[in-house]
Symmetry: C2
Subunit: 369 residues, 2 copies
């Protein structure tokens, strides 16, 4: 275990060989080496082969600092996301912003654009994005079918499109980053099945079944419930269309049923109307509840145990992964996984404090994960 042995270990304390070293070794110019290494035209096959071999032999590693300095690439990416639901999309934007701010060596310019809500003015706004000729675009597809042609035009104009929070499969989007919705539903079902022992029924209240996201959640919920909870039956899904009134009324109707459901899975972040109805009917604490995402009004209900768990869709991380994926694609040429499914966080009473800093007043650190 003397010094020479230690030297031979993994530390590469040799002087890094540059492009000029391999040029000198072959008595050719650095320009030719550059062309050969990057598959640029204007170099004969033989010299290209020689260069590649010598580069391998000398263990050439490009100097990323010099590269990113020289080609001072300016990446322009558009971020087109709805304003509602703010607790989710604000955090998503923060994730993008924070990650972008800490990318050294390349300056990327973010163009944040907002529209009121999913399906409300998104198409028009995205339409205008085509002429901006962004290098990349981050968006949330509302109706996958309707955005297909738009994505196609963007892609053929050289804009890489990344879907976030929901996916638009069968389109030309480069990749998608979202929480695994089916797993979310499955988790909800499994938790309810483990906690509820009596025979009975459980209900689901969803936002808009038109979006792929909510349909997947329901699918996962139903599938897992059927396999792990033979004692629980599933009531027909209630669709709130993200309208508070509708959700409130539907909940009242649900609670009027006899026998009452033993558990409820609310798969949209707009859960407050449902919870309000539950509270007014004094049903909090008597029905097991699983919600979606995290916002201040939910906190006391989790702390008191009235909500069994909430499934956090990690908007900050989604934004972070989305912009990282996009940047990696734009700088290197690596095509990413078509769809990156994040695992939702299961927030219980005991790990709730770990997530509270992410929903407090903005502009604090908003640390990772």
């Amino acid at each position: 275990m003397n010094a020479s042995v230690k030297r031979s270990m993994k530390n590469k304390n040799v002087e890094p060989t540059g492009i000029k070293d391999i040029a000198a070794a072959l008595n050719i110019s650095i320009g030719t080496v550059d062309r050969a290494l990057h598959d640029r035209p204007g170099v004969s096959p033989k010299t290209r082969a020689k260069v590649m071999k010598m580069a391998e032999k000398l263990n050439y590693r490009p100097n990323v600092a010099a590269r990113s300095l020289k080609l001072n690439r300016r990446l322009r990416v558009g971020v087109y996301l709805p304003r509602q639901i703010a607790s989710f999309f604000d955090s998503l934007r923060e994730g993008i912003q924070a990650t972008a701010a800490s990318t050294h060596g390349l300056n990327l310019e973010l163009d944040f654009q907002m529209y009121p809500r999913l399906g409300d003015g998104d198409l028009e706004m995205l339409e205008s994005s085509v002429e901006h000729h962004y290098d990349g675009l981050i968006m949330t597809p509302g109706d996958p079918a309707r955005v297909a042609s738009l994505v196609h035009r963007l892609t053929s104009h050289g804009t890489a499109v990344i879907c976030v929070a929901s996916d638009a499969p069968r389109t030309d989007r480069l990749a998608a980053v979202c929480v695994d919705a089916a797993a979310s539903g499955g988790i909800a079902a499994e938790l309810l099945a483990r906690v509820i022992r009596e025979k009975g029924s459980v209900a689901t209240i969803t936002g808009n079944l038109g979006t792929l996201d909510h349909a997947e959640k329901l699918r996962g919920f139903a599938g897992t419930l059927a396999t792990v909870a033979p004692h629980l039956s599933l009531l027909p899904a209630i669709e709130s269309h993200e309208r508070p009134k509708e959700a409130y009324q539907a909940t009242l109707a649900l609670l009027a049923r006899r026998p009452r459901p033993l558990g409820i899975y609310i798969s949209t972040a707009n859960s407050m109307p449902v919870l309000r109805a539950l509270e007014e009917q004094k049903m909090l604490g008597h029905i097991e509840i699983i919600t979606t995402d995290l916002f201040p009004e939910l906190v006391p209900l989790i702390e008191s145990g009235n909500i069994l768990a909430t499934l956090y869709q990690r908007p900050f991380t989604q934004g972070k992964v989305a912009i990282e994926t996009l940047v990696r694609y734009l700088t290197e040429k690596t095509t990413p996984e078509a769809v990156n499914r994040l695992a939702p966080h299961i927030i219980l009473r005991s790990n709730l404090p770990l997530f509270l800093n992410r929903i407090s007043a903005n502009e604090n650190e908003a640390d990772d994960q």
Copy 2:
């Protein structure tokens, strides 16, 4: 919502201001600006103040690519981690590696060093790290008390030390990245309390209480159990010292108790001996079990429902956050949060597939989280 309004949004579409811009704005030379910005001698206090103010006003951000090119500074960071437990630390190393590979504009060189296991040769190996004069060092402290002086020497030699997986508080370490151990224990207790309805007792099997990590888990478990589960009593903690034989024997002894414990929380990743004992005694499925981390042998037990949940400590993410924190500190001067507590992932049967790609054969993508 016209064009001017859109322009005024958060996008910083201005050309990034360099050192020469602030020189031009003040009609001085870039040399003076450089001296002023870096507290170098040879510049009058007044001009220094002017430069600083203008730098602030123009929102100057140094170009790290140009800097690290000029200084030809390779950031050298040592990664000193144990080989055991491989499922955890291999993934941790991968997280560091993958993240380091995607840092643009700065050349950082990783020096991976391994020692058999925590507390087995770590001090000696870390001792040798002092003379390497790393810019940064990532390590896992075994016994916090014993590494204090070492960390102090490293820090005073200009090496920034980051603790990962466990912390060494009250030392000169720059920061720590770990899963919130108390929360892990709390989650385990809460899940057991929700699932077990009968009156009875639960047991904990830990690795080495000497490490801060395991002690914290136990503290969180006991604390939460006391508040949410009045029907469950806690048996004295069993310490396995990370030795398979010891863990196996202790489990047999535990199962010989009457009445038998209704639930077991295994807070170390070395859970196989315990599970083997449980299986041999035909107790799998009759005792609620919560384990720690994820590795291939655990998968079928989770799929069959014999393990209620496993608390995944996200080694990949820990490595990623650790190296990100370190690099951010070394490039900018921002001192990070002293300790970054990640939320553990609760892996159930229904979300298990989301985590399987992270424990399969190496060298695949090993995507985020």
